[in-house]
């Protein structure tokens, strides 16, 4: 499958959708957005960092493994690094496949696995100190 993996310190710009073939029947896009409230704390935003070279390698492996289980044609993964204010996207994932089941499962499982194994970290910055 085609794999595009990008880390950026700029606001995420969603790439224009280009279908790689006439057999694409499903396009799933996921955006993860920084929320104001996390565990009863009011945030101003989150600070992200990554071990980029290892993260790319881990993501490629995860995508290859998932693609064997849920055949998909292409995945685009963009993660923002540095400061991300509330209301802006920290993550964008697009999956193209022939069928919706595969594309939705691939997308869900890719994010689940990223949250377990891919070396990316966020730090919470509170808006108001409560203690």
């Amino acid at each position: 499958m085609e794999k595009q993996i990008l880390f950026t310190t700029e606001p995420i710009v969603i790439p224009a959708l280009a279908l790689p073939s006439r057999e694409i029947g499903a396009c799933v896009e996921f955006q993860g957005v920084v929320r104001e409230t996390e565990q009863d704390r009011l945030l101003a935003g989150l600070q992200y960092e990554a071990y980029e070279s290892m993260a790319v390698r881990q993501l490629e492996r995860i995508f290859d493994e998932l693609s064997a289980a849920h055949p998909c044609a292409a995945v685009t993964f963009i993660h923002r690094l540095g400061w991300v204010p509330v209301g802006e996207a920290s993550l964008f994932v697009r999956v193209l496949a022939a069928h919706r089941g595969e594309s939705l499962r691939f997308c869900a499982e890719a994010i689940d696995r990223m949250k377990v194994d891919v070396p990316i970290w966020k730090r919470v910055y509170e808006r108001h100190r409560t203690a």
């Binding site: 960092e49 990554a50 993550l91 970290w121």
Partner: protein, 76 residues
């Protein structure tokens, strides 16, 4: 041989550096290297990667060029 030790997130806070070159022996494990340079560090709270692959803390470094300390990840 020289190995680059990388520390991310809380590991960096605890070690006080993001990157340091350390002289090691090929037979040493990451656990042994960390015991030498940061004996206070609680390794149970984090994973280690050798040359960008997760490994056991007890595997010998061999010809590795990079050790990374990986606290629990939280991307997304």
């Amino acid at each position: 041989m020289e190995v680059k030790v990388l520390a991310f997130a809380q590991a960096r806070d605890q070690l006080g550096f993001a990157e340091r070159l350390v002289t090691c022996e090929p037979g040493e494990s990451p656990r042994a290297v960390l015991a030498r340079i940061a004996p206070e560090l609680r390794l149970e709270a984090m994973r280690v990667a050798i040359d960008q692959e997760y490994q056991s803390w007890d595997v010998p470094l061999g010809g590795a060029s990079e050790i990374a300390l990986i606290p629990p990840v939280s991307g997304g």
